[in-house]
Every structure is written in C-alpha cells, then in structure tokens.
C-alpha cells in the first residue's frame, strides 16, 4: 500500500481528459438489517459471513484486508484520498472491513451503507472494462451469498436511489479548458438534464478542485447495466471533444491568458514556501494542461500526476511520519512540490505560439 494504485498512473484511453473510470455495485444480504439500521451483533455476523467469501476470490489473492477498527485515522484518510474507500466508510469502526487487491484496482467495502460495496477502478476511459471485472466478481459472490433481490425492483439497497442495478459508473474528468473558457456551467447543466450527475473531486457534496469533475449515472432502475455504461461513455466522449475544442479556442483567441496562467502556475509552484492543498491542485491542473499542450515535456507527466495525490493532507502526513498542523502541512507541501519540480524545465510556449500564429490546429480539429 506504499504507492498509489496503477489506475492513478494516467495511461488509459483519453488519459489527457479522463483521469480514471470507476464502477461500483451495491449488494445486500436478504432479510438482514442494512448496516445503518443493524445492531452491532448483526453487523458483525454479516461481516463474518461475507469477508471469507471475498477473500477467497481469485482476484483477491494476496489482498490487503483490514477491519476498519484496525486502521488508524491517517491510514483511512490515505485510502479516501486514493478513492479506495468512501468518506462514509472511513468514519466506520468495528463491524466494517475493506478488502482490496494489490494493484488497487478492485476494492470491496463490507458494511458501508450497504452490506457490500464493490468497486473497480481503471485509468482513462474504461468503464466497460471496469464493469466487466466487477460483474464477474458479483457472479462469483452470489454463488455463496444470497443477495436481496426482487423480481420487479432488482437488487435492493439501503437507499432507494440505488435500487435496481445497484450500479454507479463514474469517470473523473480533467476539464481546465472548459473552466478557463467559462463553458463549464453550461456543460454541467446540460449533463444534469439528461439524468447524469456532476460532482467534485471526492463525490457527493464536495467542491470541484483542480478542475476535476466526477460524472456519473443518477438513476439505477429501468435501464440495463450496459445501457447505462454506453450512454455515460457517449456523453463523456462528447465532453472530451468539447474540452479539446475549448483548448483550441483558447490557443487561437486567448493565448495571452493561457500563457499567463501556465507561467504563473509554474512560478508559484516552483517558488512558493506555503501552499494549501486546494491551491496546489488548481496550479498542478494548469501544469497538467501545459503538458497536454506541449509547453512541458511529456516525460514529466507522471511526476505531476503523482503530486496530485502526494500533496493531499493524509499522504503528506504519512510521508513525514508525524501529525502536522495545517500550517506545517502547507510548508511541507510547498517543499515537496519545489523539490519534485526541479526536473521540470521552464514552460516552452514556442510550439503553442506557432500553432496560434499559423492557425493550424492539431487533432482534434477545431469546430
């Protein structure tokens, strides 16, 4: 668990815009109180029933399997920052557990809001592949466990918003172009109208930081799993195109603003001595955009992607091996960024200027 999982190493399809894809399934045991309503003994009984079944899955060989009460607050927070457990699950203690594979591409929470919350993560846009693995896990588990299922309503879940497929598919999108050209609200509104949800970095009710947005299906009843995923994938592909278009328009029409943003982000990140995690994410996002546009060398991408995670509060505290005050964290964060960015050369906008000058546009073409 020392390093972030492979799904965070942006190499998947459309990785310039789609950071990661994730699918989760909610399942419950028949006629057993849901975790939120169950008494402690019932929760423990359910946990003892489910945990061995999950651990014996071939995909979970050599897995990381822990009871929540055995994890420190810091360890839980590290898992939240890597999106391996939910914030809600991190608040749990005895009677709950988490099991994840070594590659950190598969994570199963026991007794979160539902008895089972299983999720599969991939880098880039790979919702279909993420679902395929999860579907296999689900089928394997239903051989040993009797899931709560109704012929009319499908899989029954603690919250009626998840009933039916119990599936939530989502992708994390990096949309600096749409944010800088102030088109993001239009996109968010359009997406909300077609039954999809847009959220911030850590899901429900969280702020959008670092120009990162999570888009997911809102409804789970009345549509097949693969239909939901196909629909979501199509919408995401449209947003990717819009993001590329917005970037091209910025290069052509607002190049000064763009160079200014990239230059400032570089300047502040390489010279600042105190930085909040929000500021870090926002500036790193601009550097990431700079790499996409060719202002920084491509081989520095991984270093920047890693900073997105490594500058989060719990990851910082873990690396310093002590509890830090907010002020100490801001200093340490700035220090880590300065050190790691030593390898990053000054922004080279010559390629961009050429593009803006002769009006030629690389793939994808401007509309």
């Amino acid at each position: 668990m020392s390093n972030a999982g492979e799904w965070l190493r942006g190499e998947g399809p459309h990785h310039q815009v789609v950071v990661s894809s994730r699918v989760r399934l909610a399942r419950n045991l028949r006629n057993r109180a849901f975790p939120g309503h169950a008494k402690k003994a019932e929760r423990t009984a359910v946990l003892e029933l489910i945990k061995p079944c999950v651990e014996q899955l071939p995909e979970m060989q050599d897995s990381f399997s822990e009871f929540l009460q055995d994890l420190s607050a810091l360890e839980k927070q590290v898992l939240v920052e890597r999106h391996l457990i939910s914030r809600e699950h991190a608040a749990k203690s005895s009677g709950s557990a988490v099991i994840m594979n070594r590659r950190q591409t598969l994570s199963i929470m026991i007794n979160e809001e539902d008895h089972l919350r299983m999720q599969s993560m991939r880098s880039g846009l790979q919702l279909k592949q993420a679902f395929k693995l999860l579907d296999k896990i689900d089928t394997a588990l239903e051989g040993d466990l009797e899931f709560a299922y109704d012929h009319r309503l499908g899989y029954l879940t603690a919250c009626p918003t998840n009933v039916g497929t119990g599936m939530r598919a989502s992708a994390m999108l990096h949309l600096p172009g749409l944010v800088l050209s102030e088109l993001i609200n239009q996109v968010v509104q359009a997406v909300s109208k077609i039954g999809l949800a847009v959220r911030g970095l850590y899901g429900e009710g969280t702020e959008a930081m670092g120009n990162l947005f999570q888009i997911s299906n809102q409804t789970t009843l009345g549509e097949k799993e693969d239909e939901i995923i196909t629909r979501l994938t199509k919408v995401i592909e449209t947003i990717i195109q819009k993001e590329h278009d917005a970037r091209q328009v910025l290069i052509q029409k607002k190049s000064n603003t763009l160079w200014d943003q990239i230059g400032r982000a570089y300047g502040v990140l390489t010279y600042a001595h105190a930085m909040s995690s929000k500021e870090a994410l926002n500036l790193l996002s601009i550097i990431k955009l700079g790499i996409d546009l060719g202002a920084f060398p491509e081989d520095k991408r991984l270093a920047i992607d890693e900073l997105f995670i490594d500058t989060q509060p719990a990851h910082l505290q873990r690396s310093s091996q002590q509890k830090l005050s907010a002020e100490e964290r801001d200093h340490l964060r700035a220090q880590i960024i300065r050190t790691r960015l030593k390898v990053l050369p000054k922004p080279d906008i010559s390629k961009l200027v050429k593009e803006a000058g002769n009006g030629s546009s690389p793939e994808p073409t401007e509309q």
């Binding site: 109180a33 849901f34 309503h37 709560a148 299922y149 109704d150 899989y155 909300s192």
Partner: protein, 163 residues
C-alpha cells in the same frame, strides 16, 4: 400559476433551490409554503432534500405506524434518514415507495442483471405452473395415465426447489 403541492390555489411563493449545482424550482401557495416551512429553510425534511420536494409528503400518505416485520423499521425512520432498514422494507412500505421510485428513476421495473438463484427460482415456478395446468387438464379429460406421470414430475420438482 397553480401551487405545485396542493394544485388548487394560486402560487404566491416561488422558490428556487440549487442543490449540488442542480436548479430546482417550486411554486407554492401561501398556505403550502407555510406548512412546508419555506420561510425557514432549515425546516425542510431530509427526505425532501434527498428525494425532491413533496417526498416527505408522499411517505406520510402511507400508514405512519406501519412497522417492517423483519427489522422493525418504521416510515418515520425512513423519513428521518432517507434510508431503509432491510430488504424486506421494500415490500412493507411498497405503497409509499412506488411513487418515490417513479419520480427518482428512469423506469419502475428492473431490466438489468438477474442473480442465478433468482433466475432458477423463476424457472422452477414457471415449470411448476405449466405442470399444474397440464395436470388439471389431464384430470378434466380423464386422462389418468398422463395425470399420474405429471404428478410424479411435480413431486420431483418440489424436491428440487426445496433443496
């Protein structure tokens, strides 16, 4: 414009709420707005915030004292938490939930994955029904040889389903 809640009085209070970046507009008459506690935004029921305006009202329509026989959950608990107590609650509170689910989702019936167990159960019950129908027909036609064979098949199937 009529009130969205009572649908009989003219709306005088126009409420716009932005929840998670999603705009919701509700038009209410004077009486309904007072009753809903619109003057006091903290007075909204959690179910309303979670499931859209009027949800708490829908839930209340059912018998408020009803209790889930499996887990002891009540409608009041649901109204408070927005979560159900166990899978059997869906059958217990079906009346109140039907309208909610309809408003919340794309459809009212599940069309996705079916677990193998459920699949097998459906298959068995379909076969059982067919056999019973054939048996009645055979008896009515005084075709006793066929009836005896059908009865054996039914017995065998009963054995399978209880396994």
């Amino acid at each position: 414009m009529l009130c969205d809640v009572c649908k009989c009085n003219d709306a005088t209070v126009f409420l716009t709420q932005i929840i998670e970046g999603k705009m919701q507009k509700v038009n209410l008459c004077d009486a309904c707005s007072k009753e809903k506690g619109v003057q006091d935004p903290t007075g909204f029921a959690l179910a309303d915030l979670l499931l859209g305006i009027g949800a708490a009202e829908e839930i209340e329509k059912g018998a408020a004292t009803q209790r889930c026989p499996v887990c002891g959950f009540t409608q009041a608990d649901f109204k408070k938490t927005g979560r159900l107590g166990c899978s059997a609650c869906y059958a217990t509170f079906t009346e109140a939930l039907t309208a909610l689910l309809k408003a919340m989702h794309k459809g009212t019936s599940h069309v996705g994955k079916v677990p193998h167990r459920a699949h097998r159960a459906i298959e068995l019950s379909d076969r059982m029904r067919n056999l019973n129908e054939s048996l009645q027909k055979a008896v009515a036609e005084e075709n006793y040889e066929t009836a005896a064979s059908l009865r054996d098949q039914i017995k065998q199937l009963e054995g399978e389903s209880t396994r």
